[in-house]
């Protein structure tokens, strides 16, 4: 899932500025599960905004809602009426939701309530760890399911480096060395020999460069004009 963090209130308030009608819109998917931006967190943020205004002797009107997903235009359609009313919308969806809502409602002021952090998994109740870098060229089959892109500080593909000490990474003694973990995992699977193979230089072209990445499933996707004949 996408893991996010609530922005500090000050930052949100600065973005909200002197808007009087504020919509806080939550997303019932990843950010609900990572306890950052679901219905409850939206209610908390809304309440904080009202309290802050009260303390400053101002009156603001804050409404809250929650969409099933902010990353599909159909669900975002629900926002139309509320956005007519609102001066500003604080989205507690991830960055995807903020982008899409802004695209669907180009004239609306939509601001992020969260910092979108990473793709991660629940490690323990209340703790999430990054698991995937979204590099577009997955190597997990060679590394025993351990992503060197995000779990190695240097993102190296032929590790470990000289900074691996007692299974820990030199950048932080609490961080396990991902390559030590990869070696241990492959040894467990009886695949240590595979470590001999040199992974060629990674093509970062599939990653964050050259603008927005896209994914098309031809079976479903119809380009404009197509299928109208």
């Amino acid at each position: 899932m996408i893991v996010a963090d609530r922005k500090p209130l000050d930052e949100i308030l600065e973005m909200v500025g002197d808007a009087n009608r504020i919509l806080v819109s939550a997303c019932n998917t990843c950010v609900t599960v990572c306890l950052a931006g679901g219905r409850r967190e939206a209610a908390i943020l809304a309440s904080q905004i009202r309290i802050h205004a009260q303390e400053a002797g101002r009156t603001v009107e804050v409404r809250e809602n929650c969409l099933e997903r902010h990353c599909d235009p159909e669900f975002l359609a629900e926002l139309a009426g509320e956005l007519e009313w609102a001066d500003v919308m604080v989205s507690t969806a991830c960055g995807v939701g903020v982008n899409l809502a802004s695209e669907v409602y180009p004239s609306a002021r939509i601001i992020p309530g969260l910092n979108t952090s990473f793709f991660g998994a629940t490690d323990a109740p209340g703790r999430w760890l990054e698991m995937c870098g979204g590099c577009g060229d997955c190597v997990l089959h060679r590394t025993g399911g351990i992503c060197p892109i995000v779990r190695c500080a240097k993102s190296i593909l032929n590790g470990p480096c000289g900074g691996s000490q007692d299974g820990k990474c030199e950048v932080d003694p609490d961080t396990p060395c991902a390559w030590q973990e990869i070696i241990d995992r492959l040894a467990l699977q009886g695949r240590s020999a595979e470590l001999e193979a040199v992974e060629p230089v990674k093509d970062w072209g599939t990653s964050h460069s050259g603008g927005r990445r896209r994914r098309i499933v031809d079976e479903v996707f119809q380009a404009e004009g197509e299928g109208e004949a």
């Binding site: 500090p8 209130l9 000050d10 409850r40 209610a43 908390i44 309440s47 904080q48 905004i49 009202r50 309290i51 802050h52 009260q54 303390e55 400053a56």
Partner: protein
């Protein structure tokens, strides 16, 4: 003496029984019955402050005396978070967790006395 600007969340097996037997301890505080301290909701604490509460009190059972095992600890964590959220929003409302069994009004009294004194000190220390 607590006045109407205090909201007291009272658990059914502790605070509510204590309050029924010794109503003078909570004075005029606004009582909110909850089934267990673990029903304490951060949103409710914030709403109470929105509605004018200057002090939020949670009366939870002593450790090892919770009917549903984890209530007092849960309440403590949530009240802690609520207090941080309130500070972030610029509110000076005070959050107090008291642990007192139903038959221990003296425990509640002493927690309240200490907290009220604390709050008074804070006000004195605050720059004019």
């Amino acid at each position: 003496m607590l006045s109407k600007d205090t909201v007291a969340f009272l658990c059914a097996n502790g605070g509510q029984l204590l309050d029924a037997a010794y109503p003078e301890v909570l004075g005029d505080a606004v009582r909110v019955p909850i089934p267990c301290a673990s029903r304490l909701d951060v949103v409710h604490v914030l709403r109470a402050v929105e509605q004018g509460a200057r002090r939020v009190l949670v009366v939870a059972c002593p450790a090892g005396n919770c009917r549903s095992m984890v209530g007092p600890d849960e309440a403590e964590r949530r009240l802690h978070r609520a207090a941080a959220l309130l500070r972030e929003a610029g509110s000076h409302a005070q959050c107090i967790l008291a642990r007192a069994a139903a038959n221990a009004p003296e425990d509640l009294r002493s927690t309240l006395a200490a907290s009220l004194e604390d709050a008074a000190n804070q006000i004195e220390e605050a720059p004019a």
